[in-house]
Symmetry: C2
Subunit: 186 residues, 2 copies
């Protein structure tokens, strides 16, 4: 039985527990065992240590224990994926785990970033590079997010999928997640 | 001679090369050798492969080669650090490297996130949890960013510093960076 660490911004949603349960059910259906960050029993840290550090260590432990990580890389509070999820993906890469990820937003990173941080028309810049309104370069590689994310999954031989979820199901749509399970099981 | 991978959003700045040079000079001054992402010579990828993947692989190679990573975790395009930098920090953690990081913004993550994505008054919520305007929970651990970031550095026994840089030097101020070098050399 292989263990899959279920990384993603679900933990910040009101329906976090239900989503964790649904993802673990799907894992089981495809012959895997899902590990959800909120599964770990965190006892309140004594006041000598920050509770955030205790949770971080528990999550790192789950990733160590896992064989596979499936990261929900749907943009969260900005044009990029949740940074906690991205850290976990990098950690899993360094540990040699099987990587997979998905995003429920199909707009390319360039367009998404420009819409939020650009100014004027996207095609109006004539420097040969695209910059945001602070003069910071925006990547133009046709990828879904910063190149290290999809690049890492690609280098690990992993699967990255995007899915056009309905806005109200942006963080809860499990279509792409299930497709990854199918591919991993197949 | 120990190698330090210089992670950060500097690569997106117009003065990227000058900043890389300045950081490498400081490394040398403290007896280290700095590796800057833009150092790698990337030949244009043939059209069978995405250039973004080629750059990603080169950066992962530099991190493999490094003994230490110093990550500039100053918030970039939103309340959190640059996701590429965060991926690299996670990768370095998985590879067992020495971790260090800094942010040139001293506002705690909670306040910063609420200022950008909250609504109403920060103290007006009475659920016992703080949520953004989309109903997503905001972490309350008094940390500088998502708990996995500072948590990972802490678990690795590394150093994380914040510095109150002037707004126009938000991404270029090297005070905290140099303090980390001093600590590593000391």
């Amino acid at each position: 039985m292989k263990y899959i660490y279920l990384a993603g911004p679900e933990v910040f949603l009101p329906e976090a527990d239900a989503l964790g349960h649904a993802k673990k059910q799907l894992c089981q259906q495809y012959g895997f065992s899902g590990l959800f960050p909120l599964d770990t029993e965190i006892r309140m840290a004594d006041d000598k240590e920050n509770l955030g550090f205790v949770i971080s260590r528990a999550n790192e432990g789950l990733i160590q224990q896992a064989d596979i990580i499936i990261a929900n890389l749907t943009p969260f509070r900005g044009p990029s994926a949740d940074v906690g999820t991205v850290y976990e993906l990098g950690l899993a890469r360094g540990l040699g785990k099987v990587l997979a990820g998905y995003s429920n937003d199909q707009t390319p990173f360039l367009q998404r970033t420009f819409a939020e941080f650009g100014s004027g028309e996207l095609h109006s810049q004539n420097s040969g590079e695209i910059h945001d309104r602070n003069g910071h370069k925006i990547e133009e590689f046709g990828l879904a997010d910063n190149l290290m994310i999809e690049g890492g999954i690609h280098a690990a031989g992993g699967l990255f999928l995007t899915h056009d979820a309905r806005p109200e199901q942006r963080y809860t749509d499990l279509t792409a997640f299930e497709r990854i399970l199918q591919a991993l099981a197949g």
